[in-house]
Symmetry: C2
């Protein structure tokens, strides 16, 4: 008896609801830690994380890498520059744009943050096998693609 496509709606078994509840539970936990320990909002820490991987990105590149809109990127960058964690440098090939990169302080903070992030992920996936983790990641990407189609 497959129950993949129930004919009657049950909120508790409704995938978008389960996804939202799980995501909120995880986000809330992380947001609390990041704000308390590092005084960063989620959008700010995402920018730091991406800049640590790909320094000297333009705001436009960052909107794609972080799945944030350009307004959020602009505000997060402004806040991080004000906090001395990110710096802007001019873009020779396009005067409308500029490059963003981590300052030494920003990079030092990232090292702390990323260690904490990996520790949280390890807790969340504590009893997951490697196969389960890979399957979950793949399914989340499929659902994301289907939702955006």
């Amino acid at each position: 008896m497959s129950d993949i496509l129930p004919a009657k709606l049950s909120l508790d078994r409704f995938l978008p609801y389960r996804l939202s509840v799980a995501s909120n539970a995880v986000s809330n936990r992380i947001a609390r830690i990041y704000r308390q320990r590092f005084n960063l909002k989620i959008h700010e820490w995402r920018l730091v994380a991406v800049l640590a991987e790909r320094d000297c990105s333009t705001p436009q590149a960052l909107t794609q890498l972080t799945k944030m809109d350009k307004i959020s990127v602009s505000r997060a960058a402004k806040s991080l520059i004000g906090a001395g964690l990110v710096q802007a440098s001019s873009n020779q090939s396009d005067g409308r744009s500029h490059y963003l990169s981590l300052t030494p302080r920003g990079r030092a903070l990232y090292d702390e943050i990323s260690a904490g992030a990996l520790a949280i992920e390890r807790q969340l996936l504590d009893d997951f096998s490697a196969d389960e983790r890979a399957a979950l990641e793949a399914m989340l990407r499929r659902i994301e693609a289907a939702a955006e189609a």
Copy 2:
């Protein structure tokens, strides 16, 4: 080579990030449809969905059933009562509380909404097998529990 616990952080492979991006993609799609077609916010439709399953619940019971806080339940209920979709009746056993239930119009709307919700879920899980769907649901519940621990 297991990559279940990477030593280095990559935002793109970071589970809380993937979860958030997938959940937001799904939520945005649903929220848009519900607002356009039914003029309901997510919290309001959740309340309608739960009341359709368990009529005459108290606000307190609804906070548990919907994983919303009591303020959100109170606001959503107020809005739904104003729209003529929900009605309140007195609770004989506790004067501080009251019962909420769907009006005939609320129930009629629910029938429409639930059909739409199931159709969306079907689209999202179009290429999922029954096993995959069950595995996803179980993994989301495990992560939720781990995040709240």
